[in-house]
Amino acid sequence: MNLKGVKEKIVEAVVRASSIMTDDKKKIFQNIIEEEKSANAKWILEQMLENAYIAEEQRSPMCDDTGVPHLLLEIGKGKSLTCDLLSLIEDAVRIGLKKLPGRPMAVLGDDIQRIEQSCGLDELSEAVVPAPIIIKRVEEPILRLHILMQGGGPEIRGLTKRVFHHHDIKTVEDEIVQWSIEAVRYLGCSPCTLAIGIGRSHLESTALMTEAQIYGRHGVQTPLEKSITQRVNSCNVGPIGIGQGVSVLGTFIRIGPQRASGVRIVSLRPCCYMEPRLASVDIF
C-alpha cells in the first residue's frame, strides 16, 4: 500500500472536482448552445462553457463557492477501512482545499457563535471540514472514494419532505415537479441537474440523493427522470432564471427500500449548472 501515492490522488481529486466539468456535461452544453434560439440564453450558456474551459485550463475553481466536501466511500469484498485510513483521507482533503484554493468560509466560535456567525471566519481554506462520510458496501473488490463539492445556493433551494403517495408514482412525480419548478426558479444557477433520493427516512433519502449525484449520468436517463426533466423545462425558467431557454439538463434519481406506509420521504437538490462537482479515486 503506497500511502503517499493515495494521499496525492485524493488531493488531486479535490482540485479536479472543483475545476473540471465532466465531458458529458460539456457535450450537453455544446448541444444546447447550438440549438438555443434565445439570444440571452445563448449568451449565458456560452459564458458558462467558457468558464468551464478556463477553470480546467488553469485548474482553478469553476465557482467561488467551492463548497463543502461530501465524501462517499465504497468498500468492496476483501477491503478494509481503518481509522488511520480515514485520517489520511481527511488530511488529504484538507491539503486539497488549500491547493485549490477553497473559499475560506469555516465559521468560528462556539455553537451559538457559529449559528450567529458573530466571531468571523477562519482565514484558512482548509479549515472547512467535510460533512460526515457515507460508507457503502459494494460487490466489486474496490475501495473507492467519491468527493462531491456541495455549494450553498442549491442548499437554500433543496428540501427533504414527505409525500403521501396514494399508491401512485404519478403523485410522487407531481410533487417533485412542483418543488423542482419552485427551486429552479429561485436558484439563479440554472440550468440545473435535479438530484433526488426517495427512501424511508430523511437521513436515508438524503444519502440516496447524494448517491444520485455520484452514479447519475446525463446520457442515461430512465423514463421517470426524462419525464421530470421535460416537465420542469416546460416552465421556461431558463439559464439563471431569464425566462427563456433550457432550465434542467437532466434528473438523477435513486430509489431505496420503502416503508410499508402511505408516505415516501423525498430529498431534492437542484444542483447548479456545474454540479455535480465530483471526482472519484480508487484507493486500493
Binding site: D64, D65, R103, P104, I240, I242
Partner: protein, 176 residues
C-alpha cells in the same frame, strides 16, 4: 438573433437606468462595491445614520455585487436571501443604481427599487471567467467578516443581464 450589448461604467446616471429594459445585455466597468449577508445590513445601518460620507464612501451611482471576495475568486450569491434582498431598496434610496447578483426577487422589491431609479442585474456564476475581468480589489469596511467584508473592485467588461428595471422584470411571477 444577436442582441446589442450596452456598456455601462460607474458612476451610473439615472438617465442610463431609465433607458434600460429587462433582458438587456450589459458589460459593466469601473469601480463597484461588493457585499453579501454580513456586510449589507451593516452598510444599510451606516448609510441610514449618515456615517458613510465621513468614511469617504459615496454610494450614488454605484453598483453592489452580491458576492464574497476570496482567493477562490468572486461569483454571485443568491440575492433573494433575506439579509441581501432586504438591503436592496434601502441601498437604492442611498443612490445605488445597480444591484448585481442572481436569483429571482419579489415583486415588492422590484417595484420599490424602481422608485429610486435602481436596477437588478443577474450574472452567471463564472468565477474563472471573472478572474480575468477584475483588475483590483480592496477591503473598505468590516474586515472582520473575512470573505464577506465590504470590498471595492475595479472591473472591466463584466457581463450581466438586466433582470428588473423601471418596475418591470424578466421574472413575471409571484414568489410563493
Amino acid at each position: 438573433m444577436e442582441q446589442d450589448i450596452l456598456s455601462l461604467t460607474t458612476p451610473i446616471k439615472v438617465d442610463e437606468i431609465k433607458a434600460l429594459n429587462p433582458g438587456d445585455q450589459i458589460l459593466l466597468s469601473g469601480q463597484i462595491f461588493t457585499g453579501r449577508d454580513v456586510a449589507l445590513p451593516k452598510l444599510v445601518q451606516l448609510a441610514n445614520q449618515g456615517e458613510l460620507v465621513d468614511m469617504g464612501i459615496e454610494l450614488t451611482g454605484g453598483v453592489i455585487f452580491h458576492t464574497a471576495v476570496s482567493r477562490a475568486g468572486t461569483g454571485p450569491t443568491s440575492s433573494n436571501k433575506q439579509d441581501i434582498e432586504n438591503s436592496i431598496v434601502q441601498l437604492s434610496k442611498h443612490g445605488i443604481r445597480i444591484h448585481l447578483g442572481k436569483g429571482t426577487l419579489s415583486n415588492e422589491t422590484i417595484l420599490n427599487m424602481s422608485n429610486y431609479d435602481a436596477a437588478f442585474a443577474i450574472i452567471p456564476p463564472v468565477t474563472a471567467l471573472l478572474k480575468k475581468k477584475i483588475i483590483k480589489q480592496n477591503i473598505l469596511l468590516f474586515p472582520e467578516a473575512g470573505v464577506e467584508a465590504f470590498h471595492v473592485l475595479e472591473i472591466k467588461s463584466v457581463p450581466a443581464i438586466i433582470a428588473a428595471v423601471n418596475g418591470d422584470s424578466i421574472f413575471g411571477r409571484e414568489r410563493i
